[in-house]
């Protein structure tokens, strides 16, 4: 059996070291707050609502790769696939807060929810006002009737983009929260995996997929998806993924969307582009206009092979916010 093969140093320090590498790549535009995984833009922008995100590491460049003007203000990074502890989240919130309040924006997982909630209580003790938006864009993870049980995946990026743009416009915490919730409600994602990622500390793959099978709806930590099926053509797979997304919101003729084809880890850029070809022709056939296309490693699951597709439905509120400039390690507009 194949064993995971990675260029790392101490497996128990990968989360810390990748964050140091990210900070170095930002050339002073972000800085560590303490040494437990909190990181904040530097300098802070002119006073505005702080967007604080975070979650487990191992999904690079999510989350800390999206800090910067027009995007998130600070991030709390946990160990690989583990939500950050409340103290780290509080560090991030305290560094980012400018007296205008803090919006926590993160993926909807039991661990993140609990740790961010505890952090919100700690922040309250420090007289920092917080609001929370949990992202649940993964349509494969629960039926629409239980949308609040769905996981947050690559669609996080769209929601962060809108939140960051709204905050940069100087809107109030209440307004930013409302707009961010709206962006979340307009976002849908689903993924397909061909092979597993692995956590460096375990040195084991999180699951095994036979050579001739793929799994629809696989989660970002290797949580099982909705079905295992025989390998199929890219066009067939893309169609199945889009069918799921489209009917869920639903996205309908005349809609305008932003598209993200996200590498879960080790798919080739070639495969992502071949998928994009089909996504565009599919959406065109449904008379859905693609406003912008992002393709690449935006929210990964270590070396998992496969990709997710996310759509953000635009409207008059969201379009100018999406188009607003932003500058971060992993997203520039």
């Amino acid at each position: 059996m194949r064993i995971p093969k990675k260029l790392i140093n101490d497996p128990s320090k990968v989360a810390k070291e990748q964050l140091e590498g990210l900070i170095a790549a930002n050339h002073g535009r972000i800085q560590a707050i303490g040494d437990k995984g909190a990181v904040c833009v530097n300098p802070l922008p002119s006073p505005q609502v702080a967007i604080v995100t975070g979650g487990g590491s191992g999904h690079e460049p999510m989350f800390a790769g999206y800090l910067g003007p027009g995007l998130a203000t600070a991030a709390a990074c946990g160990d690989i696939f583990a939500a950050p502890p409340p103290g780290v989240i509080l560090d991030a919130a305290q560094a980012a807060d400018q007296g205008k309040g803090v919006l926590f924006v993160y993926g909807n997982y039991a661990g993140d929810n609990m740790n961010f909630d505890i952090a919100a209580e700690l922040a309250d003790d420090e007289d920092i006002e917080t609001q929370t938006i949990r992202i649940w864009d993964d349509v494969a993870s629960a039926p629409l009737s239980k949308i609040k049980e769905r996981r947050g995946v690559a669609g996080d990026l769209f929601v962060l983009k809108i939140a960051g743009a709204a905050a940069a416009q100087g809107k109030s915490l209440g307004q930013v929260t409302e707009i961010t919730a709206h962006a979340r409600d307009c976002t849908r994602s689903v993924g397909v995996a061909l092979s597993a990622g692995s956590i460096p500390q375990t040195g084991k793959y999180n699951f095994e997929l036979p050579d001739d099978e793929l799994e629809y709806g696989m989660g970002l930590h290797g949580e099982p998806g909705v079905s295992r099926e025989k390998m199929a053509s890219a066009d067939t797979v893309v169609e199945q993924l889009l069918d799921r997304i489209i009917e869920d919101l639903p996205f309908v003729a005349g809609d305008k969307v932003c598209l993200l084809i996200n590498n879960l880890g080790s798919s080739t850029v070639m495969e992502l582009l071949i998928a994009n070809r089909k996504v565009h022709s599919y959406l065109e056939s449904k008379n859905i206009e693609v406003h912008d296309t992002l393709i690449g490693s935006y929210c990964t699951s270590q070396e998992m092979a496969g990709y997710s597709i996310s759509l953000l439905k635009l409207d008059d509120t969201l379009t100018p916010l999406y188009d607003a400039p932003c500058h971060s390690f992993a997203l520039r507009k």
Binding site: D79, M114, A142, H221, G222, E223, P224
Partner: protein, 211 residues
């Protein structure tokens, strides 16, 4: 009945046992979760070991509170919040206690469990550590007049049955949730940890390191 120093030694022993169980917990979380539960518990209890070896805590409640807050500060993940809350809340319920005995057990577990349920919104039957802790709680209530050794050995056994029970449950929370029926047959990792904690307590007391 054990005193504060012995309780601190007990928790140090527990911490070491959980750390030693990392591979087993990792395996369990690889099957129905994301594979990090063992590493998270190891990280948390290594911090607990460091804390317990450095500090000398003033009372039984402080031992548990400090164990909980150390876990909460260092672990992250679902289990950091869950086990951190469990020990913190359980410790608070023992406020001012300087002797840990069979009577303390249901107090500790009940308050800890309540806090876990408040924090995470899960209940018995959801295939979590709650199922092991709840079985332990029920047993601890019926053994509160026995010796600590006897009570702990029965409570540990009950927690183990709780683990068994999770095998026939379908996960409705946490990373195993989306497995649905495929989670059947596999025990919950957090429940296993809970059983290891009580088993280690029982072993510590039984081995007469302190009774």
């Amino acid at each position: 009945m054990i005193n504060t120093a012995q309780t601190q030694a007990l928790m140090l022993y527990v911490a070491k046992q959980v750390v030693a169980s990392e591979p087993l917990l990792t395996e369990a979380d690889l099957v129905i979760g994301d594979g990090d539960h063992g590493i998270g518990m190891e990280r948390g209890f290594l911090a607990v070991i460091e804390m317990l070896e450095k500090e000398q805590l003033a009372s039984v409640d402080k031992v548990f509170i400090k164990v909980g807050s150390t876990m909460m500060a260092s672990m992250g993940g679902a289990s950091g919040a869950i086990f951190g809350s469990f020990f913190r809340a359980g410790g608070k319920a023992l406020k001012g206690t300087s002797d840990f005995d069979a009577k303390s057990l249901p107090v500790l577990i009940e308050a800890g469990l309540q806090s876990v349920m408040d924090r995470g919104g899960a209940s018995p039957g959801d295939k979590t550590m709650i199922d092991a802790a709840d079985m332990a709680l029920q047993m601890s209530k019926t053994t509160s007049n026995e010796s600590l050794e006897s009570a702990l050995s029965k409570v540990a056994e009950a927690a183990k049955q709780g683990v068994e029970a999770t095998k026939s449950m379908i996960a409705t929370t946490g990373k195993a949730k989306t497995l649905g029926e495929r989670s059947l047959g596999h025990p919950d990792p957090g429940a296993i940890t809970t059983a290891i904690i009580f088993k280690s307590m029982a072993d510590f007391v039984k081995q007469g390191v302190a009774v």
